[in-house]
């Protein structure tokens, strides 16, 4: 059912669009919510990981005998225990290649970064496990290492992987991706103005508060239960199965409440290791990463080294765009090339585009997804160059964008032909917003300068596999189960949708997240897909339930089910001709379920489609302390097409959260390495994510333009908001200072050094 039904007309909605109390709220604020590290079991022991002290080293041998002999040690595992996926054959689970995952979970031939797991121990407590790790003797042949992209792509760079070839030679460029449209050189020949710039960004971490943690119990009958927090219990089951050889049918993955993921928990680190430790020891094994382990050894997102060239006609028509995006993959292939390559120019109708991504490996932890993976890197470069073109042409930057927006029927370089594009609306929303029109006091005090910047962004959004079950309880209430962890308010949104469809009070609907044994397969929570996809399967399930309720009422009334209407939570005869019967409520029908045909409930499993892309346009005011080089964000307004805001507070929260993460990316967050290739700032003190007082209240302008392909008009919202901030803030700093930065973060020493040059 892919149209907005009359029943769901916005003005008639009772629950959709309401800021209802979140189902997970009370447990979270009272400390009752059960996160991954909260699980405990009788007989449980503790696992700890031994990590490489070298950034790059061949592992000649590992001797675990002393560790195994330590009293209290119950099991030791190394790469020998993990299923080996030979380098010759790619085995994919989603976008993850098991050749790299097996080597990421436990170093095999080589330790590829400082902190790479080389062995793990399970012991009666954490202290013994740590002591046992220290007794494991690893014979390393230390190799030269390389950290930065520009060093890794030099001809004389230490090569991480012998199998990787680029242009026929051994290389740290492990792969490329190209998006092409027209003839880019011919396009530049038509241009009156061409701007080409090179940009650098640093890897940054997703910064979720909850460290990775799990408990795994492997029973004597070969069945394993996993308690962990992730962005997909089915991913946990499948990946653990692949890496341990235990069939999926023998693994039950139970999702804990999740304390943030932002993409990083779409892969696993601990679960296969804990399963093998449990299998060897016969005891449940718990593993909890420290913050330092999280920072050192779980994927940040990529740093980048990009060159973008854009050509325009004198009237502002963009005619050609070229991008070369060198993207850090970390130590194993798989950087998010699709983000910059596909998204950088996608908002615009540019006839000639050539966008190439390079997957660069170096001796850093393997990157993991982070909110619109890679897209902010491309947008940073492209949207900064567009700002310069506007400046050179003397055009308002929003007018330049408006002149070039992709529209219905525009073909993007990445391949899609857009159906309905709502980019223009986001630009107009910012152009017409009081913020953009407000005068800016550029020199409010001596030593302080202010500036304003804008930028836009694009994210694909996604559909994919989802399952739902809607059951009516015997007392006439509603339980909805879906199969994806709730990281952004999906339970609250689903409760609103279900209450609306069934016409019952919101308080009578419970929304749960099923484990892998209790609900059908559901793909990851990621790609801004879950509210879109789960609302779709829940809608179809609820419609089936309504059909059943009508049938039950018809049976009781002995009339045709077609003659029954479901309205406001009650079955009523469709009209005078259907007969005169008092309405039957959900509770009435539930009470008589046994006699009318049995339990009432329905489930739907779908590969959902119709997720239209997300567009966003942002404006930001910054203030620069020119004596200290500090940039502060004074005001920020973000406009986005959100389709239908099922639960507006969560939609605003998604937009605000994405912007704040973008502010950190632009101004203060970076991975810093020492000469030995060791991460120097593996903690929140020196890894500077913004705190509350660093950011203003972000104003979220939600444009509710229903997605025609979704029953409630939902469009993914979680990722687009992190795409524009890097360029928007950089453009604002340029506006304030008259000098433009081409690398992030714009940290105080960097800003002050630039001001001193000027």
């Amino acid at each position: 059912m892919n149209v907005i039904t009359d029943k769901l007309r916005v003005e008639d909605n009772k629950w959709i669009g309401q800021r209802t109390i979140r189902p997970d709220g009370a447990d979270k604020v009272t400390g009752r919510a059960s996160y991954a590290a909260d699980n405990t079991m009788p007989g449980m022991i503790w696992g700890k990981v031994l990590r490489s002290p070298h950034a790059h080293a061949r592992i000649r041998s590992i001797d675990t005998s002393k560790a195994e002999a330590l009293p209290g040690v119950k099991a030791v595992v190394t790469a020998k225990d993990i299923v080996d996926f030979p380098l010759e054959t790619s085995v994919l689970l989603g976008i993850q290649d098991m050749r790299w995952m097996c080597r990421n979970v436990m170093a095999r031939e080589k330790a590829l970064f400082h902190g790479h797991p080389v062995a793990a121990v399970a012991a009666i407590n954490e202290e013994v496990a740590v002591a046992a790790c220290a007794l494991i003797e690893v014979d390393y042949e230390v190799l030269p290492h390389v950290i930065e992209i520009e060093d890794a792509i030099r001809d004389d760079a230490p090569i991480l992987h012998d199998f990787a070839r680029f242009e026929g030679k051994p290389s740290n460029i492990a792969g490329t991706m190209t998006a092409k449209l027209g003839d880019v050189e011919a396009g530049f020949a038509e241009a009156d103005v061409i701007v080409e710039r090179t940009f650098r960004t640093r890897p940054i971490h997703q910064g979720y508060i909850e460290p990775q943690a799990c408990t795994v119990s492997y029973s004597a009958d070969g069945r394993a239960t996993i308690w962990s927090s992730s962005q997909g219990q089915f991913m946990v089951r499948a990946m653990t199965s692949l890496l341990t050889g235990v069939p999926q049918s023998n693994i039950r993955a139970i999702p804990a409440e999740i304390g943030g993921g932002f993409g990083a928990k779409t892969i696993i680190y601990l679960e296969p290791v804990a399963l093998l430790l449990s299998k060897k020891s016969g005891r449940p094994v718990k593993m909890v990463m420290t913050r330092e382990e999280v920072m050192r050894a779980t994927g940040p997102t990529s740093g980048s080294f990009s060159t973008v060239k854009i050509g325009a006609k004198r009237d502002g028509t963009l005619v050609a765009a070229k991008g070369d995006f060198y993207i850090q993959a970390g130590c194993l292939p798989g950087g998010p090339l699709r983000g910059p390559v596909g998204c950088a120019f996608a908002p615009y109708d540019i006839p000639h585009v050539l966008s190439v991504g390079y997957d660069v490996v170096s001796n850093r932890s393997k990157v993991a997804a982070y909110r619109a993976p890679g897209a902010p890197l491309g947008a940073y470069a492209a949207e900064s160059v567009i700002d310069e073109i506007a400046e050179q042409l003397g055009m308002d930057p929003l007018e330049l964008r408006l002149k070039n927006t992709a529209r219905s029927g525009t073909k993007a370089a990445y391949g899609a032909t857009f159906a309905k594009v709502t980019f223009e609306e986001t630009i107009e929303a910012i152009r017409d917003h009081e913020h953009y029109k407000a005068p800016l006091d550029r020199n409010p005090r001596p030593g302080v300068r202010r500036g304003r910047g804008v930028a836009s962004g694009f994210w694909y959004n996604a559909g994919g596999e989802s399952s739902a079950q809607v059951n009516i309880t015997e007392d006439g209430n509603v339980v909805v189960t879906t199969g994806h962890p709730d990281v952004g308010g999906s339970r609250a949104s689903i409760a609103n949708v279900t209450a609306e469809l069934l016409g019952v009070d919101h308080g009578r609907v419970s929304v749960l997240i099923g484990d892998t044994a209790s609900i059908g397969y559901s793909n990851l929570t990621g790609g801004s897909r879950v509210t879109f996809a789960s609302a779709m399967v829940v809608t179809q399930s609820a419609e089936k339930v309504i059909g059943q309720l009508k049938e039950r009422a018809a049976k009781i009334w002995k009339i045709d089910p077609e003659a029954v209407h479901w309205e406001n939570g009650e079955a009523r005869p469709a009209g005078p001709n259907a007969g005169q019967f008092p309405p039957l409520t959900l509770a009435d029908l539930a009470a008589r379920a046994s006699e009318t045909g049995g339990p009432i409930g329905a489930g739907v499993q779908l590969n959902t489609a119709g997720a239209e892309p997300g567009f966003a346009t942002h404006v930001v005011d910054v203030e620069v302390d020119v004596d200290l080089g500090i940039v502060r964000v004074l005001r920020y307004t973000a406009a986005q097409d959100v389709g239908r805001a099922l639960h507006p507070s969560y939609v605003e929260g998604q937009i605000q959260g994405g912007v704040v993460q973008g502010i950190g990316w632009a101004l203060s967050e970076e991975y810093l390495y020492d000469r030995q290739g060791r991460l120097e700032n593996a903690g929140f003190l020196d890894y500077r994510m913004p705190v509350c007082s660093d950011v203003p209240m972000i104003e979220a302008v939600m444009l509710e333009i229903p997605n025609p392909k979704h029953p409630q008009g939902v469009r993914g919202v979680g990722e687009a908001p992190i795409v524009p901030p890097l360029a928007a803030i950089s453009n604002a700093v340029h506006d304030a200072l008259g000098t433009r930065f081409y690398s992030l973060p714009m940290s105080p020493p960097k800003v002050l050094a630039r001001l001193d040059e000027a």
């Binding site: 500090i630 500077r688 913004p690 705190v691 007082s693 105080p748």
Partner: protein, 290 residues
């Protein structure tokens, strides 16, 4: 595996005896905001923890007969903030202590711990140095008093002898026209560690500086008393030339390192900027401003 003994003596004599007897294997616990973090990180593994929070003298704020204040080494910043008169006399010292960490941390963190942790970046230390605070130390050999700037001996080292415990800070009485201020440069707005920190205490009479002390942190192995900067200010009306001379003295005193928190050039430059800004705040307070 690693047994840790915990003692919470009621008297200073007991504390000193236990601390000295442990011969370096012991650590003093006040708020624990450094110690517990260091233990968790595996940086220190004490065999004995001596909790000093049950000792009256270490947790009280007393007004001295001369009109100054004596602050127990374990008094948390939040408690100091609740004192009705301390913040009026020493707003700079108070704001420095309560820039440490978050609200939760400020409920535990103490100036004694901040000083004895020996970090060149400790926020309360430059303010205490500017205030001219004197510390009382008790050890197996008895009591002694030294200026606060004599305590730091290097990164995470102090001049305290084995077995000695820092007991209290004594701040002098405030004459009319005196006040102080503390500023630090941090990349964030809070919950951060100083890249440069500067405390200034001034006394002005008829617009002329009659006394000044400047404490400068995070730019050398220890927090510094910058006497040249004070000299440049004393006798002046805080005119641009005097301020620039004092700023230059602060820059000249810097012996920083390049590290993850800041570069040599950046820290040196910022020391001068903070001198001017902090002195301006202290002067405004001294002349009846906030």
């Amino acid at each position: 595996m690693t047994d840790i003994r915990y003692l919470a003596p009621r008297t200073l004599d007991e504390a000193v005896a236990a601390f000295a007897a442990a011969q370096g294997a012991a650590r003093i616990l006040a708020g624990g905001t450094d110690l517990l973090v260091q233990m968790r990180a595996g940086v220190v593994r004490p065999g004995l923890i001596v909790d000093i929070k049950k000792i009256g003298e270490m947790t009280e704020i007393a007004e001295t007969p001369e009109g100054g204040f004596r602050i127990g080494a374990a008094v948390p910043g939040a408690t100091l903030a609740e004192h009705p008169r301390f913040g009026k006399a020493w707003p700079g010292v108070l704001e420095a202590i309560n820039l440490i960490g978050s609200k939760q941390v400020q409920g535990r963190a103490s100036p004694g711990g901040n000083l004895c942790n020996g970090s060149p970046a400790g926020d309360s230390v430059p303010a205490m140095i500017a205030a001219g605070a004197v510390v009382t130390i008790q050890g197996p050999q008895g009591r002694r008093t030294i200026p606060v700037e004599a305590v730091p001996a290097g990164p995470h080292r102090t001049s305290l002898a084995p077995g000695e415990i820092l007991v209290s800070f004594t701040l002098p009485p405030r004459p009319a026209g005196a006040s102080d201020a503390y500023l630090r440069m941090i990349p964030r707005t809070e919950m951060d560690i100083a890249v440069v920190g500067l405390g200034a205490s001034l006394t002005l009479k008829d617009g002329v500086v009659t006394d000044a002390r400047i404490g400068l942190g995070a730019v050398a192995p220890t927090v510094l008393l910058v006497e040249e900067a004070a000299k440049a200010l004393i006798g002046s009306r805080l005119d641009d030339a005097a301020l620039e001379a004092a700023a230059a003295a602060c820059r000249a005193a810097c012996r920083p390192i390049d590290d993850k928190r800041g570069t040599i050039a950046y820290r040196t430059r910022v020391a001068g900027v903070l001198l001017k800004r902090t002195v301006a705040i202290a002067a405004a307070r001294a002349q009846g401003g906030n």
